[in-house]
């Protein structure tokens, strides 16, 4: 592969080429081996400072980035919205410029506003890694999803991936759509019409409101968490009806092809978007996603951190 990485920031998958995505996945492959060694640490980012700046709460993604940074020998600081000066009225720009004045090399940002990572990337010399911005993108989640599919199925091109659930408010869905389409997959979005508007078809995906029609044809189903605590009530009548129409129940899981992968970015609501037994079943790769997330984030930090120096 002749691709070379030239980006200091990872803001989303929409801006990446298929070659660049594959390059990250290859790099992640090398780092995955590191996790199986007795000494799980490499000196790639020794002397570099990484700031995990999580303006919106997260456990899984923050921990994954933190661990990835430790394994690359970077120094890590964690800042959450509650402990940052944002609560004292400081702007995002000023907080970030202060971090840069402390010579932070890499800023991992989780933020509730779409575009916040790009806003900082345009203004800082440090690398900015998007760890999820509003309903916009969550590139490392999509990269680890792609990695997991490729690891299990040997390819992405030609596979039929169904993304099921709250698409409208999902940054995971958008990053997956961009990544999957660039790598040649076929994508069908499934969910209530209020959360999967037809406008998505213009992105090059199919939209279906009948999960039972889609499940038998899918090679991968990626279930998104129903974020019922964040939603206005008018989007769907209630969880009971959601489960009836779109939940991956045990009965529905029988419609899946035997080799169909079941994925979920977590945290899962057992008994809502996915039945508890199905989540733990043989087709589920949910925990593999978590493991692969570490390798993918090491790759991203290594590649972007290398450019920033």
């Amino acid at each position: 592969m002749t691709t070379r990485w030239t980006r200091k920031d990872l803001l989303g998958l929409r801006e990446l080429s298929a070659d660049e995505i594959n390059f990250v996945l290859e790099t992640a492959n090398a780092f995955k081996q590191v996790g199986t060694r007795e000494i799980k640490k490499v000196p790639a980012l020794r002397g570099k400072t990484l700031v995990n700046f999580f303006v919106e709460p997260s456990t899984r993604t923050r921990t994954s980035f933190e661990l990835a940074a430790f394994r690359l020998s970077a120094d890590v600081i964690n800042i959450s919205a509650m402990t940052s000066s944002l609560t004292k009225g400081e702007t995002l720009k000023d907080t970030a410029r202060n971090l840069e004045a402390l010579h932070a090399d890499i800023l991992v940002l989780r933020h509730s506003s779409a575009g916040a990572p790009q806003f900082l990337a345009n203004r800082l010399k440090a690398s900015v890694i998007n760890a999820g911005d509003g309903a916009h993108e969550h590139p490392t989640q999509a990269l680890l999803d792609l990695y997991t599919i490729r690891e299990r199925r040997g390819k992405i091109a030609g596979l039929h991936v169904a993304i099921i659930g709250d698409i409208l408010f999902s940054r995971v869905a958008r990053s997956n759509i961009f990544g999957l389409l660039k790598l040649g997959a076929r994508v069908t979005l499934v969910g209530p019409s209020t959360l999967v508007p037809h406008e998505f078809e213009k992105l090059g995906v199919e939209v279906s409101y009948r999960i039972d029609d889609v499940l038998p044809k899918a090679d991968v189903v990626n279930l998104l968490r129903i974020q019922h605590e964040r939603q206005r009530r008018e989007y769907f009548p209630g969880l009971g009806e959601y489960i009836r129409l779109f939940g991956l129940t045990k009965e529905r899981a029988k419609l899946l092809k035997p080799d169909c992968l079941i994925m979920h970015p977590g945290p899962i609501n057992r008994g809502v978007e996915i039945d508890s037994e199905v989540a733990d079943g043989l087709q589920s790769v949910i925990l593999n996603q978590v493991t692969n997330g570490l390798a993918v984030r090491m790759a991203v930090l290594y590649l972007c951190g290398g450019i920033a120096s």
């Binding site: 995002l92 506003s113 575009g115 509003g134 309903a135 406008e199 998505f200 213009k202 992105l203």
Partner: protein
């Protein structure tokens, strides 16, 4: 006495259906004719207007001057200078200030301030509802006596149709037009950009076209019910144009205005999350732009304006969701409309453009402006319609810089602005 003669210009005065190469005389702050000249020729100021348009001073009936309360964004003084630099001699300021002009004393303050320091005429609007809250009527009769030219809750929209109905009925009694910012709060929710392809792609909360159209329709029904003019501010959607066109064909007293950014830019411009493109109502699709332009061409949309909305850099330099809505426009609007409507799209001619900036707003607001009739106040704008110029935001007279048009090359602009017989700005 002071006298000025503007020589050899192409005088376009839509109010008097004039379009001819001639001289224009200004004496003691009034438009006059040869007979009024008593000064010796050596004391008459001579302005050569060869190859220039000489027209009535332009009127922008939708401007935010931010005073009182937000003078870090703009002041009546700086906003008036920006207006002069854009070719405007009359501007109408919106009531979303602090305090809100929902009382005669705030109106008096604005008028005093303007007469003391503004280089162009500033006409205040009063609030429709107390504190722009949309619940109780402001003292509209007292506001009329204090000298407002219209009432509006601009920046806000009265959601309760009954409150709006009574406001329009009451305004009719005191002969004030009602201007409305058309936005249904339930449909729009926390929308920040046009609901469509780009909001879907970027995951930004969408502001659907129906959120504007629902209120335009409401206003048509109330204008008919109350038999009184309602003017829909900054219209942006194809549906709004269709609704207004149909209603006007039935003789209903409804009108609409267009801002330049809504025909110069589509929602694609937001893709880099640059908050200088964040405006309310939002930038829309090409289909909407095409409909707005057709609406301008066939007279459905009769007024051009800027919705000049200044914000300080530090306020705009934040996350997209958190940034305030608004674009400054006084110093680019004439250039943009000339460039787009007259030169590029050739949808209207110069005379109609001038009419939409003079006769139309003057008629709606019943103000004594927008004409070169003998005896009128000597408000005159000189326009070079062929001049190509580059927008330099850093050289604006406005106190703010939130324009997405920095670096654009436009064809046509004002080159001299004369207010009350005095040159208040000159290129």
């Amino acid at each position: 006495m002071s006298a000025t003669i503007i020589r050899n210009g192409r005088v376009i005065d839509p109010a008097n259906k004039r379009d001819e190469i001639t001289d224009l005389l200004l004496v003691d702050g009034k438009i006059t004719d040869q007979s009024a000249i008593r000064s010796p020729p050596s004391e008459i100021e001579q302005i050569d207007a060869s190859n220039l348009i000489v027209c009535p001073g332009l009127i922008d009936m939708h401007v935010h001057l931010r005073e009182p309360g937000f003078s870090h964004k703009e002041t009546i003084e700086s906003g008036a200078r920006a207006a002069a630099a854009g070719g405007f001699t009359t501007i109408v300021c919106m009531p979303n200030t602090s305090p809100v002009p929902d009382n005669p004393s705030t109106i008096a303050w604005i008028k005093d301030r303007a007469s003391a320091i503004a280089c162009v005429k500033v006409l205040p609007t009063g609030a429709i509802s107390k504190n722009l809250a949309g619940e109780e009527l402001a003292p509209i009769g007292s506001l009329a006596q204090a000298g407002v030219v219209a009432i509006t809750d601009d920046g806000h929209c009265i959601q309760n149709h009954e409150v709006m109905r009574r406001a329009v009925e009451y305004a009719r009694m005191v002969n004030l037009p009602v201007l409305d910012h058309c936005q249904d709060y339930n449909l729009v929710g926390n929308g920040v950009v046009h609901e469509g392809y780009w909001s879907t792609l970027l995951g930004l909360p969408g502001w659907p076209a129906a959120g504007e159209e629902a209120i335009v329709m409401r206003n048509i029904l109330l204008a008919e019910l109350c038999d009184h003019p309602i003017h829909c501010q900054h219209l942006t959607t194809a549906g709004s144009v269709r609704l207004v066109r149909e209603a006007r064909a039935r003789g209903i007293k409804i009108s609409g205005e267009v801002c330049p950014h809504h025909i110069a830019l589509t929602d694609e411009a937001i893709q880099n999350f640059d908050t200088n493109y964040k405006v309310n109502p939002p930038l829309r699709s090409q289909t909407d732009i095409d409909a707005l332009v057709e609406g301008i061409a066939d007279g459905t949309l009769s007024i051009l304006c800027s919705d000049h909305a200044p914000h300080a850099d530090f306020e705009k330099e934040v996350e997209f969701d958190a940034a305030p809505f608004g674009i400054i426009g006084l110093e680019t609007e004439l250039g943009l409309f000339l460039d787009l409507l007259v030169h590029k799209l050739r949808k209207i001619d110069l005379a109609r453009l001038i009419e939409m900036y003079t006769v139309e707003p003057a008629r709606l607001l019943k103000i004594d402006a927008g004409t070169l009739s003998i005896g009128a106040r000597a408000d005159v704008t000189l326009i070079d319609s062929e001049l190509e110029w580059k927008v330099r935001v850093d050289q604006f007279e406005s106190a703010s810089r939130n324009s997405p048009f920095s670096g654009w090359t436009l064809k046509g602009r004002a080159v001299r602005t004369i207010a009350g017989g005095k040159t208040v700005w000159k290129l």
